[in-house]
């Protein structure tokens, strides 16, 4: 493999990895606070993508407005999902909320089939994102430069909120101990809503970029990226935002590089992440940066 090829793969991997990372952050934040795997997160990702292309094609909105609008609407949807399907189950056995999230996931998928139809839609991409840049034999798409940078900015923004603001302090407090936080006057339900909103906003951003990178929309597009991003979150140590970012990037690299170096394995691409998951759970169940959770007796 030539160096030029390698650099191209590197950029592809970085893009894919940062998209996984953005989704993984949503999983890890919700898990950190509620100890809930939010299966519906992949569907939030899908909704973000659909909303933008609705905005652009149906309402003829300019791109930036459509993107911001879609992210806002999607984060509202994320908060709604929490209100309707998870909040009533806060005191129920934890597995109930998990099943509820699977139910929401299927509901949103099939609702999307009803509303958007199951036929995959092509995405019109702005020219400046897909005009190939050639630098000394290296041919890369501009979007593989733009997307990692955008993702990085979004992650920095998130880290700022979590570590430098009052709601962020609330989130960190709740993730340690929800009951004590409530006693200390943390508005638990509002903080949880903010968490869902922010996680969903990042998922929507990722969904939009995903649709521009792989220009096709379909109602089940969120399932596989959702699972993989969850695996990335487990790899990085669930509950840790930095871990989710590292996990996403590592997973992106593994996928792109295995297919690049061993093309015969390309058909197994969707299985890498799950194999990685089982290995990780075996040797390092708490992930790279996760805190050790012990069974309380």
């Amino acid at each position: 493999m030539s160096l030029a090829m390698f650099v191209q793969h590197l950029f592809n991997a970085l893009t894919l990895g940062s998209l996984y990372a953005l989704i993984a952050i949503g999983y890890t934040m919700v898990y950190g606070i509620l100890r809930l795997i939010n299966f519906a997160h992949g569907e939030i990702f899908m909704m973000g993508a659909y909303f933008v292309f609705w905005g652009v094609t149906l309402f003829h909105l300019p791109w930036p407005i459509a993107v911001i609008g879609a992210i806002l609407v999607t984060s509202m949807a994320g908060i709604m999902v929490d209100r309707v399907a998870y909040k009533p189950l806060r005191n129920a056995p934890r597995i109930s909320a998990l099943i509820s999230s699977i139910g929401v996931s299927f509901f949103l998928q099939n609702f999307a089939i009803v509303v958007f139809s199951a036929i995959p839609r092509a995405v019109q991409r702005p020219d400046w994102l897909v005009k190939v840049i050639v630098i000394d034999k290296i041919r890369i798409l501009p979007l593989t430069l733009v997307f990692p940078v955008l993702s990085f900015i979004l992650m920095m923004g998130l880290l700022y909120v979590v570590y430098r603001t009052k709601p962020g302090l609330g989130m960190r407090a709740i993730s340690k101990d929800i009951e004590t936080s409530r006693l200390m006057g943390v508005p638990v339900n509002r903080i949880i809503a903010i968490t869902f909103g922010m996680g969903s906003a990042l998922a929507a951003a990722s969904g939009i970029m995903w649709a521009l990178r792989y220009p096709q929309l379909q109602p089940v597009m969120g399932v596989i990226p959702g699972f993989k991003a969850f695996i990335a979150a487990v790899f990085g140590g669930i509950g840790s935002i930095q871990g989710a970012v590292i996990g996403g990037l590592v997973l992106g690299f593994i996928e792109i590089m295995i297919v690049a170096f061993l093309p015969t394995l390309a058909g197994y691409r969707d299985a890498f992440a799950f194999v990685l998951l089982i290995i990780i759970l075996l040797i390092m169940p708490t992930g790279l940066m996760g805190e050790k959770l012990e069974d309380k007796v």
Partner: protein
């Protein structure tokens, strides 16, 4: 006490006889579509009972059912397909040696399908059963996905994405309900045995169970493997029932349907699983009408594709949100209760 036991045996025998008579009548009088639904009910009950053993009684949140079903379905299909038909069907690559010639009668094929699924249960159980709660769920889900991706990529064994077609339709009401009753019997005996109590102890408090000297890993493994066996059997029956399988079929939705039956019936209730198996299978078929055009007077409403699953998932959400213990909770059917029903009514009159 002894007389009561005897009475219960007789009553159960009578119930089985009534079921047999009903099946005989159904096989003669009902049309193909209704018979197909009856068959699906039996298969779904087998699948749901096996998941209820794993999840409802042992507390292992397993989402890998589709994987075991796929293994069972492929094993059984490869065993009952005639060699010549296999050679004609594998157009991508010729079938590999043992798979190209192996053949077994239907009953043996189902048994082997279950055993192979159980073997995979052991293999996957060693790494994943040490995990708890949601991690186990996601790891078994990963296992099912890996099975699906692998099935897609070994065309010399599975015919790849094209799947297997023209599987001999041996599976009929008698096979399906026979296996269903066998599953029911095995699981009831298992749950009511001392081993069943051990499983419930692990489900309710693993740490306490371990402190009592229970080898939790071994018990969980046994339950998981028995569940996997019956999931494989269910998959095998399903393959012969619908005569066509491909890797895409064994996706998460399949697991979800089975999980829905278990949750709706009540985790840890065999009666609930059987009831929910009947209700949900019928409901899923009946709901097809929302996807067909409906004519009311002169008004014709266009059918909406996908609406069926929307209604279905909303139903699941309602159950979880408003009655998360399911139809039966943990209660079970017994003859005392059944007879009491008549007696009380008699007294009231």
């Amino acid at each position: 006490m002894d007389a009561k036991l005897k009475r219960n045996y007789i009553l159960t025998g009578v119930a089985v006889l009534i079921l047999a008579l009903f099946l005989f009548w159904a096989g003669k009088n009902l049309d193909g579509y209704k018979i197909q639904i009856l068959n699906l009910i039996a298969v779904n009950i087998i699948l749901a009972l096996s998941l209820n053993l794993i999840y409802g009684f042992t507390g292992l949140f397993s989402l890998g059912h589709a994987g075991f079903m796929a293994i069972g379905a492929y094993t059984c299909s490869l065993l009952i397909l005639p060699a010549a038909q296999k050679h004609a069907m594998y157009i991508l690559q010729a079938p590999m040696w043992p798979f190209s010639v192996m053949h077994a009668p239907f009953f043996l094929a189902i048994l082997i399908a279950g055993l192979v699924a159980a073997l995979f249960g052991i293999i996957i159980g060693f790494p994943v059963l040490r995990l708890g709660g949601d991690y186990l769920g996601i790891a078994t889900l990963g296992f099912a996905e890996i099975i699906r991706v692998v099935a897609n990529n070994i065309p010399r064994v599975t015919n790849g994405a094209l799947g297997l077609k023209g599987i001999p339709p041996y599976s009929n009401l008698w096979w399906n309900y026979g296996w269903c009753l066998l599953t029911l019997y095995v699981i009831i005996r298992l749950v009511k045995s001392n081993f069943g109590n051990t499983l419930k102890a692990i489900r309710d408090d693993e740490v306490a169970a371990r402190a009592m000297g229970i080898d939790t890993f071994r018990c969980r493994m046994t339950s998981f493997v028995i569940g996997a066996f019956f999931a494989g059997v269910g998959g095998a029956l399903l393959a012969s029932l619908i005569t066509t399988i491909d890797p895409k079929m064994f996706n998460f939705i399949l697991t979800f349907n089975v999980l829905m039956i278990v949750v709706a019936g009540g985790l840890g209730s065999i009666t609930g699983t059987v009831l929910a198996g009947v209700v949900i299978t019928v409901l899923l078929e009946w709901l097809r009408f929302v996807e067909n055009p409906v004519t009311i007077g002169s008004l014709t409403l266009q059918g909406v594709p996908g609406m069926r699953m929307v209604v279905f998932s909303v139903a699941l959400l309602f159950i979880i949100l408003f009655r998360h213990q399911g139809i039966m909770g943990k209660r079970e059917f017994n003859w005392d209760w059944f007879l009491g029903l008549f007696r009380r009514r008699g007294e009231a009159r």
